[in-house]
Amino acid sequence: MKKAELMDYDKALELFEPVLGFEVHVELNTKTKMFCGCANEFGQGANTNTCPTCLGLPGGLPQVNAKAIESSIRLGLALGCEIAEYSRFARKNYFYPDTAKNFQTSQYDEPIAFNGQLTIELESGRLVTVDIERAHMEDDAGKLTHVGGATGRIQGADYSLVDYNRGGVPLVEIVTQMIEGGEADSPEIGRTYVAAIREIVKALGVSNARMEEGNVRCDANVSLRPRGSNVLGTRTETKNVNSLRSVERAVRYEIQRQAALLHAGGTITQETRHWHEDTGITSAGRPKSDADDYRYFPEPDLVPVAPSREWVEELRATLPEPPAARRKRLQAEWGFANLEFQDVVNSDLLDVVEATIAAGAAAQAARKWWTGEVARLANASGVSADSLVQPAQVAALIELVVAGTLTDRLARQVLEGVIGGEGTPLEVVESRGLAVVSDDGALIAAIDEALAAQPDVLAKIRDGKVQAAGAVIGAVMKAMRGQADAARVRELVLERAGAAE
């Protein structure tokens, strides 16, 4: 696949107005699948979490997962949607081997949630309100693995394997209205919108929200309208965009690709396109037209879902603070600068920092430890920072530093001990014998020795050049094998040298 002709981004925007639309699929983290009692979990042997219903065996029948309905309603509410009083499932008919029944049980003209709004804030501070057309429930397809052939795609494969463990996993598909006026911010709008959805489903606890595991998947629709025209351009639907950065890149790529094509007198084919993370390009997939006929009809095997208004209100009362509002509040409470706060948010550390502060740590110290040492260690071992250590332990560690029991350097060693499973910070301090030496006697002896060894330094200090003390402090710290409080050493050096600050 070679990269298409691309137009310079600024020029593309000069000539065309991008129009966007997003379909975000959220995999719910219910215990069981959407329409059967099979476990909704990954990592099992192929086709182990299956039954007659999700395998589409003759005679299998669906049963609706009540928790999935609840999660869908809560998600709908969090997106500012109206919740249908009467909602029905519909069959979307098409043949594909990953779809066991050869129809997807989805919703068509009677979705559970509709008419919502989500306001997102771009890095520039620009607020963009995205209209949500609908959020509907459906079941996921199985997973195809194409074996043989160079690309891992179905073309050229020798054979394909199907794993139906994912088949029937509950999904909510969130469909936006057309987003106009995004202009040069369009790619960022894509990224920020998907990030906001991800943040919301995480805050609601309805999804594991890990994009890398496909819990949140985005299809990005992009079309270009020539400046001065009010006719919409032909859109493409880029699938398989499974990271925030990719959403941004894919939108940008499509704008540049379509602009070049249109400018050269070409036409855009209405089609699905595949996003290639590695090369950063999209490639043509299946031609798609509005005439695609899925022969939707109401699912006769399921009764309509008619959530009572009381229940909807009960669920509304369980909604967490909207993530955007929460972020605003926390940044103000913690007094973080924008960059500091962004660092926490982008590293996905908001929850743990909040918990660490709640456990008694100062805000800046909590931020510094999580975005610094913990993140570094997590990075090194390829795991997420919040999986490495509990906020309470980080708070305890910070407390030891504040109390002067540990220097920063010692605290880093203690953190490694805690992560290594050696116990609480205090236990690690004791078992490793890492506490700061606070016996001034030992320190004074070391200082006197160091001063005697460097008479020139001593002379400079006495002359008032207190910065010269650094050399002595270094020697003392070395002698104490780092187990001394550098601030106290400095105090004592100046004192012993007879200098006054």
Partner: protein, 524 residues
Amino acid sequence: MTNVIKLSAADLSGLLVERSISSVEVTQAHLDQIAAVDTGVHAFLHVAGEAALAAAARVDARRAAGEVLGPLAGVPIAIKDVLATIDMPSTAGSKILEGWIPPYDATVVRRVRDAGLILLGKTNMDEFAMGSSTEFSAYGPTHNPWDYDRIPGGSGGGSAAAVSSFEAPLALGSDTGGSIRQPAAVTGSVGVKPTYGGVSRYGSIALASSLDQVGPVTRTVLDAALLHDVIGGHDPLDSTSLTDTWPSMAAAARAGLADGALTGVRVGVIKELSGDGFQAGVAQRFTETLTLLSAAGAEIVEISAPSFEYAIAAYYLILPAEASSNLARFDSVRFGIRVNPEDGPLTSERVMAATRDAGFGPEVKRRIILGTYALSAGYYDAYYGSAQKVRTLIQRDFDAAFSKVDVLVSPSAPTTAFKFGEKMADPMAMYLNDVTTIPANLAGVPGMSLPMGLAPEDGLPVGLQIMAPAKMDARLYSFGAAVEALLEASWGHTLLSRAPELARREMFAGTATSTAFTSTEGAV
């Protein structure tokens, strides 16, 4: 002892409970009858002799150990091949499922097993229950025990033929547009389509999800009620299953035998389901039955159901539409036969197409094409949408009717059993055969067919259809049992006792011909 196979399930139950006969003996007697006559009848696609005898021995052992079992424990039953059975092939009469043994039991099958019934085997049917004659079975037609040249009805011709040829006292059927009731009518047996949602559909290979209903196929109303009590009731695996608690149907049937059970019962006769298009002998037996009912104290009321006129048209849009989607799963990927295209590349699409081409018969293909078309964008509103509106109108007709009467009656089918091949060339003629039974499916109300005599012109059974309001299945049984008793009292015998004695021959001894039995065409 009288011939065991001629006994009703209720009578067998009595003998089994008092242990004057063993389930093994009862089961063996029926297996012997199958061996003797099924070469001619061809009611069964699969006979599970050894498993049946082993199950019977277990029931006998439990009873011998003093365990108190349900009334039908130890009584044999035949299962329509549309139902998933974990230990027997389940083909729905289709080549595409040849040899397929499901990894699970349908809920009704499990309930029947749990109640101690003995599964004899699987019965023949039109492919995927599409047909009124079993001529569309991929495994050859079933013959009507009353005349081997004639159809046993369909789609459940196998189950009806099994009970009417005394191969089994009980059978399970499924009824989408009459597949239980019409075969019952043309074989002189009893068949019940319960209220939609009254019996679980889980494990019943779907034809049209909003119309299908599993029900009993028997020789007496009480037997049907006993079986209904076993299979009915809520099943969480079927979302359309009603959560109501149901009264005992057997108790209702017994109540129907009380003196004066028919007094004051308002019986509605549907104007639109009589007159033109009904065979003379069918109309005659129906009129005579009404006279008997009237004499027994029932009030006969003429009812008009104007929307019934559109029932067949609506049905043949809704059914193919749902079927086209339900049958999409037969794609060779997970189960069933797989056929590779003769030439060209082996893509999944082409293998699916080749498999479906080879695996589906002509009627199935016809309905898939009809249904696919009816659901297509641009046609949906005109076809599927309009059909659903007709459905609502038919439900309103039923509501209006049941505000005036307790039950509705009509002939179960316009004609007696027709000859093989008579309607094969003309799908419309075949479809019109369901005119009487389809409205109940469209409205979800329960319906029963029971024998009301033999047509004078051909000596073949005629069925009376009874319909009751939704969820009032018990009323069907009490009224049906009363009518059955009334008719039998007027005849002095049961209808099936007039059935020809089937030539007993060993299995595989030769092909059946119409001369393989002695006709006893008697006036009834």
